[in-house]
Amino acid sequence: MTELTRGLEVREGSFGVHGSPDTSGYGGLRKVVSEIPAAEPPFGSWFDKAVLALSKSLKAKDLMPEQVIEKVMIYRAELTLMIAREHLLTVMQSLRDEDELSFEVCLGVAGVHWPEEQGREIHINYPLLSMLHNRRLSVEVALPVKDPRVASVTSVYPGNNWHERETYDFFGVIFVGHPGLTRILMPDDWPGFPQRKDYPLSGVDVEYKGAIIPPPDERRWYT
């Protein structure tokens, strides 16, 4: 667990200044950006019951809950379960099918790229909704950027089909078992994954005549 809560990034100075003759006094500030810490039980509200129900269901499937649920995060009264990537599909199945959980709707999947987090660079987050119990919960999985593979949940939640294609399009996450994992929003032959942090905001070629758009900060200059 300690490995998970370590600092993601160290920031120095204000305005991102480095080694400048900054006399404001803020130049020496050091700040560690950390991950959301794990919550300790009891979690309060209906969270305990839900986690318990999930654990029970996992045990029935011969899985150790501690190995599957890496971390329980509670932030601003929202429950997020960090799941080991090889068990994602099983967890989703339980979340949907157990009576006490019944999260019937999956509202898609969103990727986040944390380049500083070695080996867990890409996080994907599935918000789930239970109309029966009127509850929300998120499931999160961390993947290494070198091998961003995870099981597709389209067999459990068919509506995630396009959402997974979108996450593939922008983050390069490969959803194994997806019926047709192709680019969806960008042109089919687009190189790179635009919403990763190492992809520039701008400065890409236009298809027509091979023109190049300079990045915004270099677009105009005044001499």
């Binding site: 601003r76 709707v105 898609g108 986040v112 918000p127 509506g159 929003l185 960008m186």
Partner: protein
């Protein structure tokens, strides 16, 4: 076997003729005896696809055997752009996503930012009521466009004229309050950008009164109209199971009889105080969705009236000076700008106020590390915002779960097996807005 007009290629599935315009007769005689399977590309520039949507249709005569929607022709990279601007500037981008319901985009984003900051309950009451007021007006204008364009796509041009006519009246209110007809950036983290101008309440009341009557025009010409019934009844069938599996929300879900409306089930911004009925139908078809939209227009008109009743004098921006936009924004003749008193104060009286203004406007405020998911009921369904902060003055990542995106996914489910004309009706009843789908 080739024809002059249609060059053919051999594929694993047989001979494929490629035709783009030209003489149909000569092709038909050319392919005599071949197994006929027509693949038609419809869009992305087509008047009936509800925006820049591309549909690849496989036809057997008039019957649609397979539909494959192609999207992305309006992808704007808004989510990435947000990461390069500060939290307040983000509002300007999100308002341009689903351009028919800008206030919902702004509100859901701001609610996310407020939740991250932990200030959700410090947002002043008046600001919350104003948000609801604007959102409900927006819901009306959005549904009016849905009726208008839906009507136009089915050839009911009068419906379109009525829809746009009534929408203009609402845009007048928007312009009076925010300075703009569209893309307002009115809702800001911590409140709204400015208070109602003098005379706005009376104008809104008068408009609501007028709209109660004029929106009846569409009811009168369409409800029970034989042609309209013939085009929409039993068309685009999607039942509850299909909706849940595909993550479809909004009027489409409510047309299956489920009263799922986030305003009622998970109230936000004080919706629990308002009295309204969740509109449902149990027909699961395009006609039911159309009726729901009409019903919601009427309910929203009531909600606007209630919101005006709830309006109490007070601030419209959070107290906390480290978050509140420093300038008292005011609407001038040339649009929204800093108020003259504020300029006078920072330029000639208070150096500290100037520094504060400068810091907050250029650098912005910091939002603590965290991630939240917020959702509102937009005219098209659940609009969610997944907002991640890394403890800096700019969003780390914002992802929008746009209802149009999920609902559009149901196109094959509602369109396959029917005729092409029905596909258009079904698509119009899903009411996707491509700006929201592609973001």
């Amino acid at each position: 076997m080739t024809t002059d007009y249609a060059p053919s290629i051999e594929t694993t599935e047989g001979t494929v003729f490629n035709l783009s315009g030209g003489d149909w007769e000569s092709l038909v005689t050319g392919v005599e005896g071949e197994q006929e399977r027509i693949v038609v590309n419809m869009g992305p520039q087509h008047p009936s696809t509800h925006g820049v949507l591309r549909l690849i249709l496989e036809l057997d005569g008039e019957t649609v055997v397979q539909v494959r929607p192609g999207i992305g022709y309006l992808h704007t990279g808004i989510e990435k752009n947000l990461e390069f601007r500060n939290w307040v500037q983000g509002v300007t981008f999100v308002t341009r996503m689903d351009y028919l319901s800008p206030f919902f985009n702004e509100t859901v984003y701001c609610m996310g930012v407020e939740k991250l900051l932990g200030i959700s309950d410090q947002v002043p009451e008046r600001a919350k009521t104003l948000r609801i007021l604007m959102m409900e007006l927006n819901r009306i204008s959005s549904h009016l466009v849905a009726l208008a364009t839906g009507g136009m796509e089915l050839g009911a041009l009068t419906a379109m004229t009525f829809g746009f006519r009534d929408r203009e009246l609402i845009l007048d209110i928007f312009e009076m309050v925010t300075g703009l007809r569209m893309n307002h950036a009115y809702v800001r983290p911590g409140g709204v950008s400015c208070d109602l101008p003098p005379g706005a309440v009376e104008k809104i009341r008068a408009t609501v009164k007028h709209l109660r009557k004029s929106t009846q025009d569409n009811v009168n010409i369409l409800v029970g109209n034989q042609i309209w019934l013939g085009r929409t009844k039993g068309v685009g069938y999607l039942d509850l199971q299909g909706c849940l599996a595909l993550g479809v929300t909004g009027p489409v879900l409510r047309a299956t009889g489920v009263p799922w409306d986030l305003r009622k089930t998970q109230p936000y911004l004080g919706y629990e105080r308002y009295e309204f009925e969740v509109q449902t139908q149990d027909t699961c078809d395009a006609y039911g969705r159309f009726l729901i939209r009409l019903g919601e227009i009427a309910e929203s008109l009531n909600l606007v009236d209630q919101a005006l009743d709830f309006l109490e004098p007070g601030p419209v921006m959070i107290e906390d000076k480290s978050i509140a936009w420093p300038a008292q924004l005011a609407l001038g003749a040339d649009g929204l700008g800093n108020s003259q008193e504020h300029i006078a104060k920072i330029m000639s009286q208070s150096m500290e106020a100037l520094i504060h203004h400068f810091k907050l406007v250029t650098e912005g405020f910091q939002v603590p590390r965290g991630q939240v998911y917020t959702a509102v009921e937009s005219p098209r369904g659940e609009l969610g915002a997944f907002v991640v902060s890394d403890d800096s003055t700019r969003p780390y990542r914002v992802h929008f779960r746009d209802p149009s995106f999920s609902n559009l996914q149901a196109t094959p489910a509602v369109g396959e097996g029917g005729q092409i004309a029905d596909l258009i009706a079904a698509l119009a009843s899903l009411d996707p807005v491509m700006g929201g789908v592609d973001r």
